[in-house]
Symmetry: D2
Subunit: 344 residues, 4 copies
């Protein structure tokens, strides 16, 4: 059984485990104030080109999202997001649990655009009595999105401009950031992300780490007392160096991008093969999540050897399924899946 249902189904890149092993019995201060974390922060600031950025390591994505968003919003504010955004659908209402509405805008291909964002903000202030409605206080986008798409630089800059002129900070969820940046379709760099977002995170969990997301805060007004927010939300890892060591490893010798590139290469191989075989893609994804339409029988047959993720029913006999590659996907994995898919 080969698993393609998600991109977090293997422990971590061997270099990570080795690095943790090298720490051995070294004694360390807790809560992310150790030298590994300091070094990883320094490295990340360099790579993103923002020496002034604050960098915090959190364990997981939902935790990062809820901590960042609830720290930025005042009680009566909400966060604008695509209706397909992770915070709107797959976090058990963690944002609402923290007291805030997700102001969901209809997504196209998993994305929202600057004009939608502007319209939502303008509509609020145009209300006769805006205080009766939730004030937009942050914009959340995912890069790549939950359906594998990515924003172009022009799209990001347009959203950034709306946010800047509306004094609404922009937050980019980069749980799969590496997979976005490595896409052949991507015209955005890590430095662009850091320049355009007020806060974003570099996902480790899905890109080679055991766990961990590196939150990068570039906007001064979002930096204040962020460690209190982390602690209060249960996200301050006692042995913080576990995260520091991992990010230090990932950002040494460009490991992060190299292993992300593997996922993209494998995904593109799969996509090309599927298209050649006449399959309909459910969504046009240039990243590591591919969505293909197959018949129910095909799904049943494939499920003997592969774990795929049913994504949604297309019609009475067809399903869309999600197939994820990752940093760990091998040529052989894709060959076997492609062969099975094409053997219809």
């Amino acid at each position: 059984m080969i698993q393609f249902q998600c991109d977090y189904n293997q422990t971590c890149h061997p270099a990570i485990l080795e690095a943790l092993g090298r720490v051995g019995m070294e004694q360390m201060v807790g809560y992310g104030e150790d030298h590994y974390c300091q070094e990883a922060r320094r490295l990340i600031r360099q790579l993103v080109g923002r020496e002034d950025a604050d960098v915090h390591f959190l364990v997981g994505g939902t935790q990062a999202n809820m901590t960042v968003i609830s720290s930025a919003l005042r009680p009566y504010q909400g966060v604008i997001a695509a209706d397909t955004g992770h915070i709107n659908v797959h976090e058990t209402g963690a944002i609402e649990h923290s007291g805030h509405k997700v102001i969901a805008l209809p997504a196209r291909d998993g994305k929202i655009d600057a004009s939608q964002v502007k319209a939502a903000i303008d509509a609020h202030y145009a209300e006769n009595g805006p205080e009766h409605t939730v004030q937009p206080g942050m914009v959340y986008i995912s890069f790549p999105t939950e359906v594998g798409t990515i924003y172009s630089l022009a799209e990001l800059e347009a959203i950034h401009d709306v946010c800047r002129s509306s004094h609404v900070p922009l937050f980019i969820d980069g749980a799969r950031l590496g997979y976005g940046l490595c896409s052949p379709q991507c015209d955005v760099t890590l430095r662009d992300i850091a320049r355009l977002a007020d806060v974003f995170y570099i996902g480790g969990t899905k890109v080679g780490a055991m766990m961990g997301e590196a939150v990068v805060i570039t906007a001064d007004e979002l930096k204040r007392d962020f460690r209190y927010h982390i602690k209060q939300n249960g996200g301050m890892l006692a042995k913080g160096w576990l995260l520091g060591v991992q990010f230090l490893t990932l950002f040494t010798d460009n490991l992060y991008m190299r292993i992300a590139q593997n996922a993209i290469n494998q995904a593109m191989r799969l996509r090309d093969a599927l298209k050649d075989a006449g399959y309909t893609m459910y969504a046009e994804s240039p990243t590591n999540q591919q969505f293909v339409v197959i018949t129910d029988e095909e799904l049943q047959r494939l499920s003997r050897d592969f774990l795929l993720e049913p994504w949604g029913r297309v019609d009475s006999t067809h399903m869309a399924v999600r197939i994820c590659t990752s940093w760990a996907t091998t040529d052989a994995d894709i060959d076997r899946l492609t062969a099975a898919l094409c053997a219809r």
Copy 2:
């Protein structure tokens, strides 16, 4: 200037003020445990035909909604509502502030139907990993809705049946309940409401009272410790008898329904006149809120003598406006407005 922009623009029915005056300097115990409240509760239980119901008096609608909903939901649950529902758009995110998602379904004419509700609940449990998504824990509907429409008895019973079989309680926001029950189109009685809802409220603020909503809880599992919820949410009025006296007055000699009927009669007169004059109604409302399409110039002209509520732009030259009648609207008010509207 005659105000038609809402139905809470006059203090109260004279009988209410008289009744409060009759209390005079009588000394009373606080927090709704006085004899007026007790008597009002008794009367309401009788009228709704549920001797076992708990009745609580709250000051306002947003307060009632947030207290009822947050008392009924577990932390990870959300409340299903029409996307046009008051809790979803005009309460500054009070429900989210209490920690819960409003699971918004697309409304038709301000209403949601049983099949939508069932589909939303079923979809949750059909998820692969439902614990990653918000669990539906209550259904909220407004009677009448925010656009003046009402549910038929059949529609209500269907929603009730879905709720019952899903073990999801049904909450009916009756901020304008009287105006719904008096509509010529209404085939629902107050007893039906009490039979079909697990909890609902009878609105006073918009139907003759100074302020106050009578929350009626019929489902045993929602009754527990409700006074704690009221107090914690800042809704326990120190001088509770202010509410008891008002509801006692409203439910004596059928005053509530009589004055609600006036609003409906005036609204129907207005609607008929507008239709006769060739106006397009923006929504088909059988209750006290009427929505009519007028030109921008008409709105400007009318605004010299009347306060109407702009509801939304229809096209580049037309607006929909809301016109509310109330318990206090007079024949003369409607005559003047009708004359002005028809003088085009």
Copy 3:
């Protein structure tokens, strides 16, 4: 049966009801934007000597406390208060419900002092890892306190100075403000309160109004979007003029202070009589709440004719009871109670 158990057991001063009656069927815009509210705000700004203050009318004390405090604090901050403070004991955890810890300091006579406040703030920042503990973000005191005592001007100024130098705003709960200001022991004026507090409220519910607390915000950083907070917390009264009319009446011709003075006069008469009769006072209160130690039998006997509030057991045969006078207490009331108490 004469009730002395609290100071909110009678509807309102007759002038209030008359004023509401005079409004009659006047049509008004909602949510506190009517001309009565505007006028009442203007009057209050004048009286407190702060033309720059924002004034908001809320319905009740718990609502005012939770709205003010939760609007001022960041998520990881708490509010310093006396352990006997109303927010710490009698609001069903409304502050915690809004997400914030009440940092309770041991009170002496219902009060905390500047050195305690300073010590608590200093202790936080002296922590090795302050982000693991709740950051003090506001100081809450009651004037008068829950046991009837009042702060001297020197005490208030000392607390103010600590707050100012620590950048922690000071909030004064004035649910019984009038009763404090009228006390013979009081050397503080309303203008002092407005000068020393960053936000405070003038209580109406307990001082002649039906309901209502006038929140006065003097610190600019606390003013932002306060109406959103009110609405989100369910505290925005639809018919806002009900509160405006009441405060306008109370602050016309000094009515508020005149009726507060009556409560104090009656309380002092009672206190003097009790002391003359040899009673032990449980607390030394210079305001309208008196606390006296009586035997269980006395309490039983008195309870046939008077409603007193048991406050706490003193020993196996004695209780402390609270006796409240109010704006409405008459000479005859006190005469009867005094006679009964002295007839032992």
Copy 4:
């Protein structure tokens, strides 16, 4: 520099890292539904003697505390705890952030007793108007406590009995559970803990794991939908097997207790040496946290070679310091520290 400031300053027991290495590139389903977690759950159920228990793996202690407590309480309920309890002082108000008051009782030696708990619960229901105060909804104790002490079996049973008869669940925070159970003074077994607590957790972070706490729920009414709570609170680790593998390792061949025993042995050696040398112990701890009184100069001198945790000032020239041993403390570590301490 040898660190004794806490018991989470080394990565993990080598067997843990080896076990994680053995997983290698095995593909696994996420969110704790893998076979390692299943096996670890089975093992824990056996060890605690509760085949009916639900076992969940969380990453850290604050997260476990806030998730367990907020899942058990209704909105108006609070949790009874020692005023020195971790949730009351060192979690940045995470419990209050979840909406609930910590009802803090004065601790003796870090502990509260059954009579205090009973008194607090009784006092609530004896209130005239209990709904104005926070209802006790859970009792939280730490085993061992934050100052290293442990409850005797008799003490635990007494608290259990009060909880049972009051229908208030008992939660035992076992962040250092192993260190408690291995204490020479302990007459409580793991099975007693599981029998007496409605929910508790077995701490991994401080006892040999990289991270992880195993929450064991024995009371049926606390089991419902617990995974939703975990996810909503940001505590559902994507690669759940990281925790499963660790607990499986810890509970195989009794590793957990064996390494916990080492910490106790080293702590007792240290304690005996300190007492022999005439030091005053600040608290009498039979577990791995020792508290000793030293002069400021001694602290300064020792700080050149050892990291100790200042715990509190004793007088103008003396400090109490905390010295923690752990699963990793060696004979040599203690020898060196003892020598340094005795060289005065």
